[in-house]
Symmetry: D2
Subunit: 343 residues, 4 copies
C-alpha cells in the first residue's frame, strides 16, 4: 500500500516517533510505501508532500516536534477540502490510506472523513491528556518531566528568599499537567479548571505553609478560574492558541497573593518549553507502539478507528469514542492530591 | 495510630516519596504518628528506628534512595525474627501497624507475617517491573529514563566510529528494562531472558545494520542467555546481588560479536546508575499515590494487602496475588519490538 | 577560629557548595568552628545564626539555593548596622571573621566594612557574569545550561509550526547569558543591553531566516532596549528585583515582530528557573574552589579581598578591583556571535 | 576558498559544533566552499568526501559525535599518505586548505604536514583535557557533566545500602576528569595517574568515611596505578583504545577494598557514555568559537597553528606548543581536592 501520514494541531514530543515506527513497520512487514503531508490536512488537500523512505525516518524516535510540520487547517473548512476533493487528491497522488495524528479537532475531522468513505485511521495526540478514549498519549509524560524539573528549580530559589512561587502550566480545559507535576514537585496548592477554589482558600494555604517557615509552591493550570473572580480574570484565558498568554492566570494570581498576604510572590509561566524537545523514554515507547498499531489498523482497514492505550495494552477504539467529551480530572484524584496541600 | 515504615531489598528511586506521602497523609488526615525502621526488617526486629515527623519527610518526593536504609534481612530467618518476636517488638515500641515497602521477597515476608496475625500492609517495589499484581511500580520509569539517555549517548559515539555498541541493562529474570529502553533508543536488537535468540541471529542483525552504513545498537538484559551458548555463559549471571558483575553477558557478547563479524564492538554495562538519583515525575506521582493508598489500607485494617496500579487507578490487591509468579515480557510485546530489529 | 558565613543578594546555584567546602576545609585543616548567619547581613546584624557542623554541610555540593537564606539587607543601611554595631555583634557571639558571599552590592558592603576594620573576606556571586575581577563565577554556567536546554525545546516546537520564537533570559545590565546561551542554541539573533540594534534590523534577520524555511530563534536579555524604541519600552526594565517582569522586553518584542513581519511569533520568559536547582559540575567545582580559597584568605587575614578565577587558577584580588565597574560583553565577542545571525 | 574539514581520533561532543560554525562563518563572511572528509585523514588521502552546504550543518551545534566520522588513520603511515600524495589529492579535488580537528596524534600529523608545506590549521580536541596549549577544549565539560550526574546517582544507592561505591572514569594518562567530577560529586577519594597513592591509604579513607556512617565514593581514573601494586594491575591499562576495558582498575580496586575492609563495595565503569550525546552549553560555545577562529586562521594563512582557549579569549598558538608534553594535574590542584578526602 501507499500510505500518507500527517500531523495536525499543536505539536508535541513523540510525533516523530509515531511516524518512524509506522514507516519502518510498513516497509519491513508489508512492503508499503509512505508519503508525509506537509503541515497537516493542508498538505493532503493541496497535494504538498514528500516521499518518506527508511532513511528519512532514521533517528527520529528521539527527536521532538514533527518533521512534517503541522497546522490548524480543518479538512472540511478549507476551500479545496471536503471528502470529494480529498478522494480526488488521494487518487491523483496514488494514496491508499491516511494516518492522521492529532488531537480532538484532528480526530473529529478524521472521523467525519471516514464516515464519508475516506480510508483514514487516527493516532491520538494531546499533551493535556484530555482525551477520554486513551489512558495517556505521548507528550504528556514529557510535559510532566519538564514541568517537574522546572518546579524543582523554583523551589530552591523560593526557599532561599522565603518567597511564594507560582508556576503556570498548560491545561486550558483540564488540569492533568498541573495535577501530576504539582504532585511530583510537592506543591502546596494545585489549581485546575475542573475545581473551583476561592482566592481566600488559596491565600490560606499559602499562609499556612509560609508560617511553618517554608516557601509555598502554587501550581496553576492556565485555564483555572478562581471562585468569585470569574469577571476579574475574564479575557485572560481566551486566546485561540497563544500559550503562554500575556498576563495569564499565573501573573494575576501572583499579584493577588502578594497583595493580600504580604508575602513576596513570583510567577513563572512555563509556556512553550513544555511541548518541545526530546521525548522521555516513556513517550517514545508509547508513540512507537501507537505508530505500529496505526499501521496495523490500516492493513485491517479499520477506517474511523484509532490506536489507544488501556492499562499496558495498545488497543483499537472507534474514533467516536475518542470524541465523546473531555477527560477531566475526577474529584477523587483531586482529593488525593489535596491531602498534601497547605497546612 | 502509631505506624512503622520500612524499606527492604534493593533500593530504587521513589522509596522516599512513598515514605513522605504516607507520613504526611497520616499526620494531616488521621493524626497518626510514624517511626521509620532502619535497614528493613532488621530495624523492626532489633527495635532500631527513628521517629518520623513532618519535618523529617520534607522535600523527600524528589530524593532517590531511602532515608531509612535497606537490607536483605528476612523476617523469618533472622535469629530474633518470626511473628512472636515481632509482635513483642511492636508492643514494646508501641507500634500499631507496619507498612513494608519492597520487592517479591519483602512482600512474601509481609504476607506470611499477616497470615500469622501481624498488622502489616505492603507497597510493591521492583525496578525490574517483574511483579504480576501491578501494571508498574516506581523506579522502573526512572531506570528507563536513565538507560534511554545513556543509549542516546552511545549512539552518537558509535556512529562516529562505525562501531557496534552493546548496552547491558538490569533484568536478571525479565527483560522489561531492555525492552522499553531499547525501543525508546531505537535499538537494532533487544535480548531478554524470556526469549531464546542464537548468536548467529544476533550477528545477522548486527551485520544487516552495519551493511546499511549504520552503527548497530544491541541492548541486552543481564539475565539473557544466547541459545546454544548456555554452557559458555554459565556462571555469568549467578552473583547474589552484584550488579554489575565482572564479565557479564554484555562483555561476553561484545567479544563474540567482534570476533565473529569483524565489526569493532564496545560494551557498556550501565549498572548501579540505573537505580540511583532523583525519580522521574512519573515515578514520584506513582510513589506518592502508593504511599497514600498504603496509609488508607492501614486504616481499613486491610492486613496482607498492598497498593497496586491498574490502568490509571490505585487499587487494593491481596499480597498472595502479587506473589503468584514473575511477570515476564509476553511474546506479543517482544514481537512488536522485533519489528524494528535488524534489517 | 570561629568564622561566620553569610549569603546575600539574589540566590544562585553553587552558594551551598561554597559553604560546604569552606566549612569542611576549616574543620579538617585548621580546626575552625563555623556559624551561618540567616538571611545575609540581617543575620549578622541581628545575631540570628546557626552553628554549622560537618553534618550540616553534608551533601551540599549538589544542592541549589542557600541553606542560610538570603536578603537584600545592606550592612550600613540597617538601623542596627554599621561597623560599630557589627563589631559588637561579632564580639558578643565570638565571631573572629566573616565570609560574605554575594554580588556587587554585597561585596561593596564587605569592602567598606573591611576598610572600617571588620575582618571580612568575600566570595563573588553573579549569575549575570557582570563582575570584572573574575573570569566567571558559579551560577552562570548553570544558567547557561538551563537556558540552552529550554531553547533546544523551543526550537523543535518552533520548527513544527514555522513560528518565530523569542526567548527572554536574565541580564539587566549585561548580555552574557544571552550571548552564551544564544550561541549554544544556534540563535538567529541575540539582543543584549550593550549593543544597540533597531527593530528594523531584528525584523530583517527574522525574515531572512524565515524565508529560508527555518524557524527564527531570537534571544533577548531582559535589559535590552531596541534602538529608536527607548520610550516605547521605558518602564519595562525598571523593577527593583522582579525577574521575570510583567510585560518584559520579550513580550514587547514578540508583538512587534509579529505585527511588522506577519510571522507568527511566541515569547517565553525563562525567569526564575534560570537561577534554581542543582548546579552543573562546572559550577560545583568553581564554587568548591572558591570556598577553599576564601577560608585560606581568612587564615591569611587578607581582609577586604576575595577569591577570583583567572584562567584556570583561583587567585586573591582586592575587593576594590571587583567593584570597578560592570564587566560588559566587549564588541569583539558580539561581532563573533553576530557571524551566525540572520541570513 | 575551498576548504576541507576532517575529524580524527576518538570522537567527543562538540565536533559537529566546530564544523557548523566554521562552515557558516566561511560561507557568510568569505564566500568559501567546504567539503568534509570522511573518517579523518583517510578521507583526505583517499579522496572520500562530501560537499558541505549550509543546509548540511543546520542544527549541528547540539548534536554529539561527528557527521564526518572519524578514524585513527595517520597521514604519514597510510600507504597513500605523506605530503606528496596529500598535495596531489588536494589539487585533484581543488582543496585550498585543511582544518584538522583532533587530539595530540592528529595535531602532530597536522604540524608535520604544515612543516612539509601543506596548508593546514588545527582545532584541539581532547576529552581528557591533556593538551598543554589550551586551558580547556570542548568535550571535557560534557564528560564532567555526565560523570557528575552518574555519581550523584551512585551516591543515593550507595547511602541506602551503606556500601562503598567506586566509579571509574576516563583518563589514561591524566586525571582531570576524575579530579573535576570527583570534586563536583563530593568524592571521598580521587585517584589519578599523576599521584601515587597506596591501597592502604585508600582503605583508610574508605574506613574513615564508613565509620562516620557515610557511604564512601571513590573516583578513579582508568590510568591510575596504586603504589606498590604496579605488578598486580599491569596489563589492566594497556588496551590501545578499549574504553572501558575488561577488568579495569575500577573493578580491581573494588575487589581489593571489599576484601581488605570488609565493606560491601560496588564498581561502575562509566565508559563510552562519557563521550557521547549532546554537548553542554559550555562546550557548544567553546566549539563554536574554535570553529570561527580556525576559519580565520585559514584566511590568515596561519598554517601549522591552531585555535586555543586562554582565560576567556580564543587565541592562535603554534601547533608545536600544543605538542610539548602532556598537561598533567599539578600537585596544588590535587592537594586542593585532597582537603575533602577521607576523614
Amino acid at each position: 500500500m501507499r500510505i500518507g501520514l500527517l500531523t495536525s494541531g499543536g505539536d508535541c514530543p513523540g510525533l516523530n516517533a509515531v511516524i518512524r515506527s509506522a514507516v519502518l513497520h510498513g516497509i519491513k512487514s508489508y512492503g508499503d510505501e509512505f508519503v508525509g503531508f506537509r503541515s497537516g490536512w493542508r498538505g493532503l488537500i493541496e497535494g504538498d508532500y514528500m516521499e518518506l523512505s527508511r532513511q528519512d525516518v532514521r533517528g527520529l524516535a528521539r527527536e521532538g516536534g514533527t518533521i512534517l510540520g503541522t497546522s490548524r487547517t480543518h479538512p472540511y473548512n478549507h476551500p479545496k477540502g471536503g471528502p470529494e476533493n480529498i478522494r480526488k487528491a488521494m487518487r491523483r497522488h496514488d494514496i491508499d490510506a491516511v494516518i492522521a495524528i492529532g488531537g480532538e479537532g484532528t480526530l473529529a475531522g478524521a472521523r467525519r472523513l471516514a464516515v464519508d468513505g475516506i480510508p483514514v485511521v487516527g493516532v491520538p495526540k494531546t499533551i493535556d491528556n484530555d482525551l477520554k478514549a486513551t489512558d495517556y498519549t505521548f507528550g504528556f509524560d514529557t510535559a510532566i518531566s519538564i514541568a517537574t524539573d522546572a518546579m524543582d528549580r523554583l523551589r530552591t530559589t523560593g526557599e532561599s528568599h522565603h518567597r511564594c512561587m507560582v508556576a503556570e502550566v498548560m491545561g486550558r480545559h483540564v488540569g492533568w499537567i498541573a495535577l501530576h507535576s504539582g504532585m511530583a514537585a510537592g506543591a502546596h496548592a494545585i489549581l485546575i479548571p475542573e475545581q473551583k477554589v476561592s482566592l481566600d482558600q488559596i491565600n490560606e494555604w499559602v499562609e499556612q505553609v509560609h508560617s511553618r517557615g517554608r516557601s509555598p509552591l502554587v501550581v496553576v493550570a492556565e485555564g483555572f478560574i478562581p471562585e468569585g473572580a470569574e469577571e476579574a480574570v475574564a479575557g485572560k484565558g481566551q486566546e485561540a492558541d497563544g500559550r503562554p498568554r500575556l498576563g495569564g492566570i499565573g501573573e494575576w494570581l501572583t499579584h493577588q497573593i502578594e497583595e493580600r498576604t504580604g508575602i513576596e510572590t513570583r510567577n513563572t509561566t512555563l509556556g512553550h518549553i513544555q511541548r518541545g524537545g526530546n521525548p522521555t523514554g516513556y513517550d517514545r515507547v508509547l508513540a512507537t507502539r501507537f505508530g505500529i498499531k496505526a499501521l496495523d489498523l490500516v492493513h485491517e482497514q479499520a477506517w474511523g478507528h484509532m490506536a489507544s492505550l488501556r492499562g499496558t495494552e495498545i488497543v483499537k477504539v472507534d474514533l467516536a469514542e475518542a470524541l465523546d467529551g473531555l477527560k477531566e480530572v475526577p474529584l477523587p484524584r483531586y482529593e488525593e492530591a489535596k491531602i498534601l496541600f497547605g497546612r
